[in-house]
């Protein structure tokens, strides 16, 4: 059959489903607003659960107030959402418990994290709070890389780590500042720790 003889079919364009991207609005604690795609939000377990629970429609997103993220500032949240948009649709890594954890920092992430350590510190807190696994991995790797080629003395200065003597002195000072009952509770806590409790720092 030639092209000229092919049957003509009328197409109702309205009937074709158009995939509409949904964007959510978020507000930082310093009142900066961000529009973030639904797919990008999936990188954050916390936000993903939140928007699922809210069940917003496109209209709700426009008409209702932006979702407030009260403990993250605008500068940090901007980095977080830039990262989420760049990595949207990527699989979220599952921690298999292997040590050392092999983490490569992609070029985009390296540029994004070319920031001062104060902001990096906030970024890690934000990634942890919003439960963005891979952002947490790469930002922690960036901190680990600060140890590269460092001697013990240099590393102590980089991470501001106290010596055993300083740890002891801080502990004594804290005990002395407490009232006798509080000290008792502290001693009880220490005893429990010795009997199998766990603490990192």
């Amino acid at each position: 059959m030639s092209v000229e003889n092919a049957p003509v079919v009328d197409v109702d364009e309205a009937a074709i489903p158009v995939e509409k991207k949904m964007y959510y609005r978020f507000e930082s604690n310093d009142k900066k607003e961000f529009r973030v795609s639904e797919l990008a939000i999936q990188q954050s377990e916390t936000l993903n659960r939140l928007v699922e629970a809210m069940g917003y429609t496109s209209e709700d997103v426009e008409n209702k107030p932006a979702i407030a993220i009260e403990n993250i500032d605008g500068k940090t949240l901007k980095l977080v959402f830039q990262w989420c948009e760049h990595h949207k649709g990527e699989a979220i890594p599952v921690d298999d418990g292997s040590v050392p954890k092999i983490v490569e920092i992609p070029e985009f992430d390296a540029k994004l994290m070319d920031i001062d350590n104060g902001l990096l510190f906030k970024l890690i807190w934000a990634a942890d709070y919003l439960n963005i696994v891979q952002l947490l991995n790469v930002s922690c790797k960036k901190v680990a890389n600060m140890a590269q080629g460092k001697t013990p003395a240099q590393l102590r200065r980089v991470y501001l780590l106290p010596s055993d003597e300083e740890d002891e002195a801080a502990k004594r000072a804290a005990q002395e500042a407490q009232d006798p009952r509080a000290r008792e509770v502290e001693e009880e806590f220490e005893e429990r720790k010795r009997q199998g409790g766990n603490s990192f720092f």
Partner: protein, 270 residues
């Protein structure tokens, strides 16, 4: 030098742990030297490793396999510090490196070390508990070390290898000091006229690798007297008058030429 600072202890616990988990083994070792707390944190990661190998040569080198990497820590590798070296006290210079695929991917060398070798060993075995089965090697120039402090630091070793250290008496002393161990490899030219005293061979090892260089002068009787357990594949079998069976195995592959005799005592045959 402008060093950037990061308040690691102020991160949430899980984040700080994540930082340590992504550190290389070299970085983790340096970190663990900073305080008891740091050492405990490094230990809590439970890093899987292979046993630690300790090499006594001109210097002292520890190696530990960790995933695809080899962690290498070297002491006394310069020609000075000879007196310190013999006693294994506090070597000033330490070199740490990570070797991957035959090349060094990370290095850290410093001359301000304050830890004794004993402390290094304790720290390494504490943060890498799976490396406890020590494999000790004595090779060329290893005779420069004093065996008493070595024995004090490594009272129990799992595996011992001796090549010629450059001093026959020292080689003999190594056997006296460290046998019995579960697993021994001896290079025959480590002993004068390539003869190992019967009193060493009679001991009960799990496995003895006898590696032969140049012209071995070990007699068949000396080999037959060795009271060890062995595993071997292939080779030619023969018997002594008393019925003791032995197997000769020869490899002529390039880069792996050897001549081996394995003697099968009753306890060797399962």
């Amino acid at each position: 030098m402008n060093i950037q600072r990061f308040p690691l202890t102020q991160l949430p616990v899980q984040c700080a742990k994540n930082v340590l988990q992504t550190m290389s083994p070299l970085q983790l070792v340096v970190y663990s030297l900073l305080s008891k707390k740091c050492k405990n944190q490094a230990n809590s990661l439970k890093t899987p490793t292979k046993p630690m190998t300790v090499h006594f040569a001109r210097g002292l080198v520890f190696t530990i396999y960790i995933q695809q990497d080899i962690l290498r820590i070297g002491f006394y590798e310069s020609r000075i510090q000879e007196e310190d070296k013999k006693q294994l006290s506090t070597p000033k210079k330490v070199s740490l490196a990570i070797q991957r695929g035959g090349r060094f991917v990370e290095k850290c060398i410093y001359s301000t070390n304050r830890h004794e070798v004993k402390e290094w060993v304790e720290t390494l075995l504490f943060i890498f508990p799976e490396s406890h089965d020590i494999w000790m090697n004595f090779v060329d120039q290893g005779f420069r070390f004093n065996l008493d402090p070595i024995k004090e630091i490594f009272p129990n070793i799992h595996k011992l290898s001796i090549a010629h250290t450059g001093n026959y008496a020292f080689n003999q002393s190594v056997l006296q000091k460290f046998l019995p161990v579960e697993d021994v490899t001896i290079q025959m030219d480590s002993f004068e006229h390539s003869r190992i005293s019967h009193k060493f061979l009679i001991q009960d090892f799990t496995f003895t690798g006898v590696s032969v260089k140049v012209f071995p002068r070990i007699t068949l009787n000396e080999l037959l007297i060795n009271n060890r357990e062995s595993r071997i594949h292939g080779g030619v079998d023969f018997h002594r008058k008393d019925g003791t069976e032995a197997t000769i195995n020869i490899s002529n592959r390039p880069g792996r030429k050897y001549f081996g005799i394995m003697v099968w005592h009753d306890h060797c045959v399962g």
